[in-house]
């Protein structure tokens, strides 16, 4: 039954996820067309030449383009999280819940499947975003330097090594810890985000009226509580680093510490809310 639940849930969420991925892809293609267009080349040429007006206009256009691209991607990602919450609420606590909760499956399986499926699709979308943004950045760099895309890709390792070396030797930043943290966040965060969202919506079930609205308020409350908890958790490291001085290197380590603490707080809250959701659906379900 678990496999069947996964199959249906993956398909259902997948429809929306694929649509959003198609939009991501579409706007990246538009961005790529812009980067290889004569307009972009004229901006590059003008910036190295004498066309001041064209440079300013082109710069503004490039900035608006980049800003729009980033905002659209962020907006769509948030849109997907909202969709996941809406879908979860409708299938668990609204009319469709009457079918969901009369399926011959364990209540815990419902929460596990919904969290894992939502998290997996979010992870897929995050990875797709990384790839698309990297593609566009690489293409932009190649166009500016007058290189081919594949030349930049083949030289990427060398360029990245130079960049990391510059940070380590020039500013004293060791990116290996940040890299590990970024990888962990990329892999874990989609699942914790979904678990926290679903848990908060489940918390809303404790209200007598406006359960959906209370779920949203619970989500905001949980996020605030998580920030405060993260702040308290990170207090020790802040004080320790502060005693070590205010060098950029120390500040960089402090940023890493804060990042780690925030991830830890997220994992702790996600675990609590995940098991709480299972408890509510199993032992305290009230489909009024």
């Amino acid at each position: 039954m678990l496999g069947k639940l996964f199959k249906h849930e993956f398909r259902r969420i997948g429809k929306m996820a694929c649509l959003l991925l198609a939009v991501f892809f579409g706007i990246t293609v538009i961005g790529a067309i812009y980067l290889v267009s004569p307009l972009f080349h004229s901006i590059i040429d003008a910036s190295s030449g004498s066309g001041v007006l064209l440079t300013v206009v082109g710069g503004i256009l490039a900035l608006i383009g980049l800003l729009s691209y980033t905002l659209i991607l962020i907006g769509l990602s948030f849109g997907f999280i909202i969709y996941l919450g809406f879908r979860f609420y409708r299938s668990m606590y609204s009319d469709e819940g009457y079918l969901t909760h009369t399926l011959p499956v364990k209540s815990s399986q419902l929460i596990i499947v919904k969290t894992v499926t939502g998290g997996t699709w979010m992870l897929i979308m995050t990875l797709a975003l990384y790839v698309l943004v990297a593609f566009l950045t690489t293409l932009g760099y190649a166009q500016m330097k007058g290189l081919s895309f594949f030349e930049v890709v083949s030289n990427f390792r060398e360029l990245f090594g130079t960049f990391v070396g510059y940070l380590r030797e020039g500013a004293g930043f060791d990116l290996s810890t940040s890299g590990i943290l970024l990888t962990c966040t990329t892999l874990i965060s989609p699942f914790t985000t979904v678990a926290i969202l679903f848990g908060a919506l489940t918390l809303g079930q404790y209200s007598w009226k406006n359960k959906g609205l209370m779920g949203i308020l619970a989500y905001i409350g949980v996020r605030v509580a998580m920030t405060i908890f993260g702040g308290i958790l990170g207090l020790g490291s802040t004080m320790l680093r502060a005693s070590q001085g205010t060098d950029p290197e120390v500040m960089f380590q402090l940023a890493n510490d804060r990042y780690l603490v925030s991830l830890l707080a997220q994992v702790i809250f996600a675990c609590i809310l995940f098991f709480w959701s299972i408890h509510v659906v199993r032992d305290r379900l009230n489909m009024e």
């Binding site: 039954m1 069947k4 199959k7 249906h8 299938s91 009319d95 469709e96 819940g97 009457y98 079918l99 909760h101 009369t102 399926l103 011959p104 499956v105 364990k106 007598w208 032992d283 305290r284 379900l285 009230n286 489909m287 009024e288």
Partner: protein
């Protein structure tokens, strides 16, 4: 085992004072069509939801074929709620796939046959159907299972009289003799002829449980007339 469903001292308190179901004890046997009757707010739907695991009793215990309500009992109880529980964006065909995947006792052939009888296109999306047709689709899904107990909450409330006849025929023709049907309704006169037993509920309490023919004989009137007398405002 002839006892299908046993409710022992079951109560449900939603938390705002009044008990929606108040200390109900009842045993439903196999092979009967049982009417769950009572005015609005008498606790019928709450009791049905508890039987299907959608609500947890505040007190008491519900057992179906000796087991507590859970995945095993849900596999053997076919439930029709008093609302549309299917996603509007789904096609009927995809819903058939869903039921076929999750309910081992679901017969796709039977469902297709009933859809054909009613000239409902399985490729249609739920959101394109009228309210009455949606209700028919749900009833077809529920009655296409070989369950031990069918729990139907107001199955004929929202449909026209012609459709009511079809629904009643569908119910009668699609359950096996070992199974029971628990029907909650206000429209007693429409279903009285098919009822074997009746349960009267008022203010969350069970006030009568007996055989329909016996009530007619003892009271000298139809169950509908007796209901109107008992629940007169």
């Amino acid at each position: 085992m002839n006892d299908l469903l046993v409710l022992s001292n079951v109560s449900k308190n939603y938390g705002y004072g009044k008990l929606a179901v108040n200390n109900v004890s009842i045993t439903l046997p196999r092979g009967k069509i049982i009417g769950l009757l009572g005015p609005n707010g008498s606790g019928k739907t709450t009791m049905i939801k508890m039987i299907n695991g959608l609500l947890r009793p505040t007190e008491g215990e519900i057992r179906f074929l000796g087991e507590e309500i859970g995945p095993e009992t849900k596999a053997r109880i076919s439930y029709l709620p008093d609302r549309t529980y299917l996603s509007p964006s789904d096609t009927i065909s995809s819903i058939l796939d869903y039921f076929e995947d999750f309910y081992e006792d679901f017969s796709r052939e039977r469902a297709i046959k009933m859809l054909e009888d009613l000239q409902i296109d399985p490729r249609a999306k739920m959101k394109t159907l009228s309210k009455g047709t949606k209700e028919k689709v749900q009833l077809i899904l529920v009655m296409s299972r070989d369950a031990d107990l069918y729990v139907l909450d107001e199955p004929i409330a929202g449909v026209d009289p012609a459709a009511r006849d079809y629904i009643l025929r569908t119910i009668l023709n699609n359950y096996h003799q070992n199974a029971s049907i628990l029907i909650s309704t206000h429209l007693i006169s429409d279903i009285e002829q098919v009822l074997d037993e009746v349960i009267f509920m008022r203010d969350g309490r069970l006030i009568l449980y007996g055989s329909a023919p016996q009530i007619r004989e003892q009271q000298g009137k139809s169950v509908d007339a007796y209901f109107r007398e008992v629940f007169a405002c």
